[in-house]
């Protein structure tokens, strides 16, 4: 317990978390501080490229094994199953409609790549090794949750047609293409490739992450300010409970696969996090009647800050304790 509190304390006082807190505070105080949309997109492109590239380099250095394939498969299964768990929990503790519950559930099966990036940063700072291919697992976990949510809706007799545009948007959304593409570039070019561009993608990484989380804080704060009213106590409780349940699934899966301590942490983080880029866009197309204020505010305003501040230290402590890392 003391270790968890120490880790949480250190995490809370890191520049990354404090930058996020600054963004939330500025937004709630109605400051005019803002990050232009184009700048925010540029920061996210940088982070996705850097994290994908470094993951590919790590795979090039350590080689691939059966665990890579099994981890990918496990990620897909987790992404498909977690919305079912989330949907059941939402039905028990919230009064959300079937449509809103399915839309929210989809977010909790998919992943937050920024939470993943923040977790890798914490692992690096703590000297905890992880499998480079977890980046690929993150990409694989983006989409299956959306299909599960649509299946949940179709079970209620409300069949939704998946048109080819939606398929393309889900499977080829910019985040996935960039993440997988940079992962492959890192894998192909290996250590030599990394050496060539390390001054760009390694040294400035944490500084860029701070600026990006400042923006995320501003957006989250704005969401809470404008959409906080839709979060009734049961919904709010779900935003904190579901990451803990998801992380337990991730923990079990990581241990079963025999991942490294860092790998288990990342599997927990992926299972605990909720999407706010790919899934909201897909839900707007597939389930337009679902209230976006609920799932966006819940995902970005509740679960994201929870994972960033308390969740990641907790997952690190639990995973290292159980793996002996």
């Amino acid at each position: 317990m003391e270790e968890i509190l120490t880790l949480a304390g250190n995490n809370l006082l890191s520049p990354i978390i404090l930058s996020f807190a600054l963004g939330v505070a500025a937004s709630l105080a109605r400051s005019d501080l803002s990050v232009p949309e184009a700048a925010a997109k540029a920061l996210s492109i940088y982070l996705l490229f850097a994290i994908g590239f470094k993951g590919g380099v790590s795979v090039a250095a350590h080689g691939i094994d059966i665990k890579l394939g099994l981890s990918l498969l496990a990620g897909v299964i987790l992404s498909a199953v977690l919305p079912l768990v989330a949907f059941a929990l939402l039905n028990v503790i919230t009064g959300l409609s079937r449509l809103d519950a399915a839309a929210v559930a989809a977010h909790y099966g998919s992943i937050s790549i920024v939470t993943f990036v923040a977790a890798t940063s914490v692992l690096e700072s703590s000297g905890i090794a992880s499998e480079g291919y977890m980046v690929a697992v993150a990409a694989a976990m983006e989409a299956p949750a959306i299909l599960s949510a649509l299946w949940l809706i179709s079970r209620g007799g409300d069949g939704r047609r998946m048109d080819s545009d939606l398929w393309r948007e889900i499977l080829l959304n910019g985040s996935i293409v960039l993440l997988v593409g940079s992962f492959l570039i890192g894998w192909i070019t290996g250590e030599e490739g990394l050496e060539e561009i390390s001054s760009f993608i390694v040294a400035p990484f944490k500084g860029v992450l701070c600026l990006f989380l400042l923006d995320m804080g501003l957006v989250a704060g704005r969401g809470l300010r404008n959409g906080g009213g839709v979060l009734r106590p049961g919904v709010l409780a779900f935003g904190v409970l579901m990451p803990l349940i998801g992380s337990a699934f991730g923990l079990g899966t990581g241990l079963l696969l025999g991942l490294s301590p860092g790998g288990v942490v990342l599997m927990m983080v992926l299972s605990a996090s909720a999407s706010y880029i790919a899934v909201p866009a897909a839900m707007r197309v597939a389930l337009p009647e679902a209230n976006p204020s609920i799932y966006l505010t819940l995902s970005l305003g509740v679960t994201f800050p929870f994972n960033l501040t308390l969740g990641i230290p907790l997952y690190v402590a639990v995973a290292t304790a159980l793996t002996g890392g």
Partner: protein, 103 residues
Amino acid sequence: MKTHQAKRVEITIEAIMQSRLTDALKKAGVTGFTVLPVLGGSGRSGAWTRSGEIGRAAGMVQVICIIRPERLNGLLDAAFAVVEKHIGVVSVVDCEVLRAERF
């Protein structure tokens, strides 16, 4: 200068639906339109802004078409099929244009 009567249709719709809408318009024979970014606003779904957003779920765009009056119903039918269930506003105003053969 001689001017000609036309209809200006402004469709403010979720950014994620933009290509679906413009595809539907093209299918309905509307070959000319302009897409504008929308910075922010407020409506039944609450206030929103593009500032700092990295996904397309929260953004809106405005699609503007200027057409001959007799083509209005075809355009509105095509647009309605796409925007019916989505957040947005469709408005039609009278306007006048030069060079009627272009519309």
